[in-house]
């Protein structure tokens, strides 16, 4: 079977497209399929999706927002709406009025509770412990599955110890994520 687009090469990729509720099948060679998929990505890019999510703003706010400009990199809020990517780290502060609600819609939260770079803020030992406990629990599960019960008992005690050291702090994190 020859490619539907160029009609020259052997079709090796088979696509089903739905346009206006009509299903069409496309048989493409690798080269044309590649071009086609780049096209489709442009049509349904993430930027549209993000821009769509930001459309909930009140019209008056929207108009004001479009002229906002990041003092560090020069990207405007209108640029962000168009391309769906921010220009630099400072854009977050420059557009915070609009970005915070957007982040809330995407992640359901607006406060970071994960790790920090070593250079800037003191490392948050507590957070690292959380993943320690998680890793130990995983090992415990494996030990139980492989019936290594002595090892399992040792791991269980270790987990208890760690959890005693940081009993409530992590529960607080969970509610912040709501």
């Amino acid at each position: 079977m020859l490619c539907d687009i160029c009609g020259k090469n052997q079709a090796t990729v088979h696509l089903t497209e739905i346009i206006d509720e009509q299903m069409t099948e496309l048989h493409l060679c690798e080269e044309c399929a590649h071009k086609k998929s780049a096209q489709m990505e442009q049509q349904f890019g993430l930027s549209d999706l993000l821009a769509g999510m930001a459309e909930f703003e009140k019209p008056a706010l929207q108009k004001e927002g479009l002229t906002l400009k990041c003092p560090n990199c020069g990207l405007t809020y209108a640029d962000f709406r168009k391309i769906g990517r921010l220009g630099c780290g400072d854009c977050y502060a420059a557009f915070s009025k609009y970005l915070i609600p957007l982040l809330k819609r995407i992640h359901g939260a607006t406060q970071h509770i994960g790790k920090s770079p070593l250079g800037i803020v003191k490392p948050q030992k507590k957070k690292e412990k959380v993943s320690d406990v998680a890793a130990l629990k995983e090992k415990l599960q494996r030990a139980i599955e492989s019936e290594a019960f002595e090892e399992a008992a040792r791991l269980r005690d270790q987990i208890r110890e760690l959890e005693r050291e940081q009993p409530l702090a992590d529960k607080g994190d969970k509610s912040a994520a709501e």
């Binding site: 993430l46 990517r85 921010l86 970005l99 992640h107 509770i113």
Partner: protein, 349 residues
């Protein structure tokens, strides 16, 4: 490092050795990081991108943990080399689109890769064989900490790591697990499972990440939310979800075995037969048949093949790998012939 050296080796994550390696192919974590005050790659000019590249290269060279890595600047690679790296999951399709100012840092075992100037200045990735998220986390956390001492990352105490796309803000972390779920697909349960996954704000993708279709019963499951949740909790949630999916796949396998053993044996044996005898085969058909053979191996129906060889076949039958092996440009038809030959040789008893 020469790319041809990679060709001779099997990537660490393909060894098929980690926990639950019958169902879980690999576990992967990536962290998105950017440099303080510097425009993100899509918004940076040539000079700024070049500076980022130089700064990152210098930082990498100072990190002890990264001493066995090589920096591959895309500008020095041809299209085939780039496709080769994509097929080995060392870089993304997106990264391959434009070469200027871009690089990928790769370690000799292919566990670590750092894309420079992809969507973010750094995309650090660690891959492990089997179901091994926490080990991957230990490695990537160490690398991230070490790099954060050498370069200042764009970070806010409130919003965390600042990324080009707001979908990655916060931890900048995506954990992904690649699963082989043939029994859930054959028993028509997969759409129910995938629907449940998306309700829990996880996503499912195909073999080659964003925008690719699931093929040959392979699914990549990853977290979507990156802000307001700690790295440990993201991993624990993903880990718990994957455990449940593994459980369901195992149940589906058992029920297929008890109810339609002959059907299953027939499909598996026919798939093996075709792979051992075909003279022309497409990559799509290869993946589908290899998926069945893999299942046959898991269920003990097929012997005399090992998981590692099967995993290898998935990669070396891809277009750029075939051409690297042949050391020649091949048309799609020539590739189909070469692919069949390589498979026959590998599966020869």
């Amino acid at each position: 490092m020469q790319l041809n050296e990679l060709l001779k080796n099997t990537s660490e994550w393909l060894k098929g050795s980690g926990p639950n390696s019958d169902i879980v192919i690999s576990s992967r974590i990536r962290l998105a990081r950017n440099l303080h005050k510097v425009p993100f790659p899509h918004w940076a000019n040539k000079k700024q991108s070049q500076e980022v590249l130089e700064n990152v290269e210098e930082a990498v060279s100072k990190v002890d943990y990264l001493k066995n890595t090589s920096v591959l600047e895309l500008i020095s690679l041809d299209a085939l080399d780039i496709q080769f790296l994509v097929e080995r999951h060392l870089m993304s399709h997106e990264h391959a689109q434009k070469k200027e100012g871009k690089a990928v840092v790769v370690d000799d075992k292919e566990i670590i890769s750092i894309m420079v100037n992809e969507e973010d200045h750094l995309r650090i990735q660690v891959m492990q064989s089997g179901f091994n998220l926490f080990e991957a986390w230990d490695i990537i956390n160490t690398i991230d900490d070490a790099l954060s001492k050498e370069v200042r990352f764009a970070f806010s105490p409130d919003l965390g790591y600042l990324t080009a796309c707001p979908t990655n803000t916060g931890t900048g972390m995506r954990g992904s697990v690649m699963l082989h779920l043939p029994a859930l697909v054959m028993s028509n349960q997969i759409s129910r499972v995938l629907a449940a996954i998306s309700k829990l704000s996880f996503t499912s993708r195909g073999l080659y990440g964003e925008g690719t279709q699931a093929s040959g019963n392979f699914f990549q499951i990853s977290n979507q939310v990156s802000l307001g949740i700690s790295e440990g909790d993201i991993l624990e949630n993903l880990n718990g979800l994957i455990r449940q999916i593994i459980e369901q796949e195992n149940q589906a396998r058992q029920s297929l075995l008890s109810r339609s053993r002959a059907f299953l044996e027939d499909r598996i044996s026919r798939s093996f037969g075709i792979l051992k005898n075909a003279r022309i085969i497409s990559s799509q058909e290869t993946i589908e048949l290899l998926s069945m053979v893999r299942l046959g191996l898991d269920l003990g129906m097929l012997k005399d093949i090992d998981r590692r060889s099967l995993n290898e076949l998935f990669i070396i039958t891809q277009p750029a790998h075939l051409q690297k092996i042949e050391n020649n440009k091949l048309s799609a038809q020539e590739r189909d012939i070469k692919r069949a030959e390589i498979i026959r040789n590998k599966l020869k008893l």
